[in-house]
C-alpha cells in the first residue's frame, strides 16, 4: 500500500448560524496514511492559508478521543467509518486513494451551527444542570470505603459514565434525540448507591429538560449506539424509561 493518498473533499461551509451554508470542494494530495483525519484537515487548512483562502473551521482539543470536542459527519456517519472512534483518532490508513468524502457538521435543531463544522452543544449542559449530579457539597463526604459498591455495579456505572458528550448520538438519530446522552448520566448515577436517592427527581427533570431543549423522542433506531465513540449501550435508554415509568406509577 502506498504511504500517501489523494482525496476529494466536499465540506460544509457556513460563516455563521444566520447565514446559508453550502458545500465547497477541495482536492487534497499527498496525504500520509499515518496521520489522523484532523491532521489531514490541518494540512488542508495550511494549504488554504497559503492560497490566501479561509480555512475550514472545526473543533478539537485533546486529540486522543476523550474530551468530546471534535466530531462531524463523514459520508453520512457521525465520526466516520471506524466504530468506537472519534474523528481525532480516525487515521487515514482507513481510506482509499482517490476516495470522495462528504464532511458535514453534526446536524440537529438544538445544535446551532457556529461556523462550518463547529456546532453549539450547550443544550447538553442544560440537561446535566437538570439533575445530572449527586447533591453533595464539598466537605460532607463520609469515608470512601463506607460506601460499598459491588464490582460489577461499579463497572456498569463506569460504562455509562464514559460518555464524552460529543453529540454524535444526536447527529445520527433520525429524531435528533438526546436519549443516549441523557440516559447515560441517569444510568451512571442510578447504578450507584450515592445516586440512587435522587433518581426519581433526576429522571423526571432531565427528561423534561431534554424535551424543552428541542431534542426529539427516542424511537429505538439504535443509530446512536452504532456511532457512539465510547460504545455506550442503548440499554441505558431502557433503564431511563423504566425509571421514568416508575415515577408515574
Amino acid at each position: 500500500m502506498s504511504e500517501v493518498i489523494s482525496l476529494n473533499l466536499q465540506v460544509w461551509k457556513q460563516s455563521s448560524e444566520d447565514e446559508a451554508g453550502s458545500f465547497e470542494f477541495y482536492s487534497v494530495k499527498d496525504i500520509s496514511i499515518h496521520i489522523s483525519f484532523l491532521e489531514m484537515l490541518d494540512v488542508v487548512n495550511e494549504n488554504l492559508q497559503k492560497e490566501g483562502k479561509e480555512p475550514i473551521a472545526f473543533d478539537s482539543d485533546c486529540r486522543e478521543g476523550i474530551c468530546g470536542t471534535c466530531g462531524f459527519v463523514i459520508d453520512g456517519v457521525a465520526h466516520g467509518p471506524m466504530a468506537k472512534t472519534t474523528v481525532c483518532q480516525l487515521h487515514m490508513r482507513h481510506f482509499e486513494n482517490g476516495q470522495t468524502l462528504v464532511i458535514e457538521p453534526f446536524r440537529a435543531t438544538p445544535f446551532k451551527i457556529v461556523k462550518d463544522l463547529v456546532v453549539d452543544r450547550s443544550s447538553f449542559d442544560s440537561i446535566i444542570q437538570a439533575g445530572g449530579y449527586v447533591t453533595v457539597s464539598t466537605g460532607n463526604a463520609p469515608d470512601a470505603n463506607n460506601i460499598l459498591i459491588a464490582k460489577e455495579n461499579a463497572e456498569d456505572a463506569f460504562d455509562s459514565a464514559a460518555c464524552i458528550g460529543c453529540g454524535a448520538c444526536v447527529a445520527s438519530c433520525p429524531n435528533a434525540s438526546a436519549a443516549l446522552f441523557t440516559s447515560a448520566k441517569i444510568s451512571h448515577l442510578s447504578q450507584l448507591p450515592q445516586g440512587k436517592i435522587e433518581e426519581d427527581e433526576r429522571v423526571k427533570s432531565m427528561v423534561a429538560t431534554m424535551d424543552d431543549e428541542g431534542f426529539g423522542a427516542c424511537s429505538n433506531h439504535a443509530e446512536c449506539e452504532a456511532v457512539c465513540p465510547k460504545g455506550i449501550s442503548i440499554s441505558n435508554i431502557a433503564l431511563m424509561r423504566r425509571n421514568l415509568i416508575k415515577t408515574i406509577l
Partner: protein, 650 residues
Amino acid sequence: MSGAIPEKEYVESVSKLDGRVPSGDIEDKWDKYKSSMKIVNPANKRKFNIIVVGTGLAGGSAAATLAELGYNVKSFCIQDTPRRAHSIAAQGGINAAKNYQNDGDSVHRLFIDTIKGGDYRAREDNVHRLAQISTQIIDQCVAQGVPFARDYGGLLTNRSFGGSQVSRTFYARGQTGQQLLLGAYSAMMRQVAKQQIEMFPNREMLDVVTVDDKARGIVVRNLKTGELETHSGDAVLLCTGGFGNVYFLSTNGKGSNVTAAWRCHKKGAFMANPCFAQIHPTCIPTSGEYQSKLTLMSESLRNDGRVWVPKNKDDKRSAADIPESDRDNFLERMYPAYGNLVPRDVGSRAIKKMCDEGKGLDPSGRAVYLDFGSAIERLGKKNIADKYGNLFDMYETITGDSPYSQPMKIYPAIHYIMGGLWVDYDLMSTIPGLFVLGEANFSDHGANRLGASALMQGLADGYFVIPNTLGNYLANTKLDSVSTSSEEFTSAKNESKEKTDNLLKIKGSSTALEIHRELGGVMWDLVGMARTKESLEEALDKIPKIKDKFWNDLYVPGDANTLNKNLEHAGRLADFLELGELMALDALNREESCGAHFREEYQTEEGEPLRNDEKYAYVSAWEYNENNIPVLHKENLDYKFVKMTQRNYK
C-alpha cells in the same frame, strides 16, 4: 525582555521572597492555620463576586465549592463547555494516603515520596498539606458518584505508580481524569442551576485588571463572536493549566496555552521555575512532520510492562524473535529497587540514553519497547485486558499495531509543567487578589511530579485549600466597589484589542502553525530533556529570531469579529515565544541538575542529576521587566522537616 544573551549579572536576585508559611509543626500547621483564619459570614458571602478562569480539576472544583459556600461565582473557559478541560485526558489515577491496602502508607510517606520525587525543590509545607488533604479528596469524589475501581467485596482498590513503593493510586480504568473532571463538572452544573455560578464558555482570558494594585477583574474575548468583554470581581482565580505546548508537540490538548498566565505575569505576577518541564517516558513516538500532538500511554502500564531494547544495537530481528537473553531490560538493570516503576524523569533519561547509544528502534531510532509478553503469560490475556484494555485499544487505533501480539513502542514526550506562577501558602500570587491553582501554579511538585499527583493537587487546591484561604483574604482586605466602565477596565480592554488587531495587520506569509512548529523544535532540542550552557545560549539566540519572524511575517486569515481559530492560535503563540525565552533563561541560571531539569554538566558518575543545594535550594521567581532582562527573586527552600539527600531509586 530583549533578545541578548544574558550576562550573569543580569539575573542576580534583588529580593528574597516570602511564602508566608504559618509557623508551627508541619503536621498540624494547616489545621491550626485554618482555625485561626478570619471567615466571611454566610450572609456576607453573597456580596462577593469571584472570577474563576479555567474549568479543569482545579477551576471546576474551586468554582463548585465556592458557589456551595454562597459566593457569586463567574466561571470562564475557552472550551464550548466546562466538561472538556484537559484534566479529562489524565489516564492513570489519583494518589491518596488512605492506606486501604495496609502496605504501610501514611500521610507522612506520601509527603516524603512527593518531596523526594520533586528532588527537593518544592515548598515543604505545601506538600505536607497536599498529602494531608489527599484522603478527603477520595471521599468527596466517591460521594459525587465517581466510579472508581472496586474489588469483589465492594471496597476501593488501588494500583502502584512510579516513585512509590506502596499502592495508593485510585483509578477509574484508564480514564480517571475524565471521571474526576465530570464529578467536578456535575457539582458545577448543580450550582449553575441554582444560579450561584454564572457560566461563560468560549471565552479566552486576555488580561487581568488591577485596581489599587489588587486583581479586580479580567478581559476576555468571546471566541464565537470576537467581542471583547470585561468582568469585575473581588478576587480572580487562575486555573488555566500548564504550558507544555510551548514545545509544540506535547501530550497537552491543542487549546492548552500560557496566555492567561503570561498576561498576569506581565502585570506583575512572578513566574516560578518555568524550566521545570516534565517529560513523560511512555508516549507513542512521533510519526511524521504533520503530527499535531503526542499521545501518552499511562504510567500505570509500567506496573506490568517491561521496558527494553535489544542488547546488540545491530539486532534488527522483530521483537518476538529476540530471546530474553538478547534483551536489555534496562530499567530493571539500572534501578533494581524500583525497576520499571522509577519516577518519570529517571525513566525518560534512561530511555534517551539507550537511544543516544544507538539502541533505539527503527525507523527513527527514537523508540524503545514496552512489552507485556511476560505479563500476559503470567496473568493471562483477559486479566491484562481488564486492566489496560482501553489503553491497548487506543494504541492500536493510533499505530495500527496490537500490544497483545507485539510490544508497544514508546518514547518520552512533554507532558506537564511543574513550574508556573509563584504563589504563597495561601495560593496567592504576587498580585494581591490573584490566586493561582492547579498546574498553573508552581507550588507542590518541585522539579519533578510523581504520577497520579496532578489530579490530587488540582482537586486539593480547588476543593479544600482555596475555600479557606480566599475567605481569609476577603475578610482581611478592604475592597472598594469597582466598575467595568472605569479607566482601568477600559484601558485594559483597548490594549487587548490592539494586541489582537496587530496580529491581523502583519499580513506576512508564515502561518502560526509553521512558526509554532519551529519554536517547538528549538525548545525540544535545546531546552528539552537534557540541557547545557551552550544549548541554552543557542536557544536564547534562536528564539528572538523566531519572534522577529512572527511579528514581521505572520499571516492570519479572516478577521477578529468571528470564530477564528488561526487568530486564537497566533495570540497564544505570541505569548509562547516570550515564555520560551524565559524558560531558557531560567534553565541557564540554574547551574545544577534536579528532577526534570537535567544540565549535562551537572551529573553524578552514574549519570544521575547532581543537585547543588548550597547554591540552588531556592525557587526562581521571575519578575517581568518590559524591554529588559527579567529580574530574579529567590524563595529559599528552608527545609525544617525533611533532610535533603541524593535521590536513589537503585
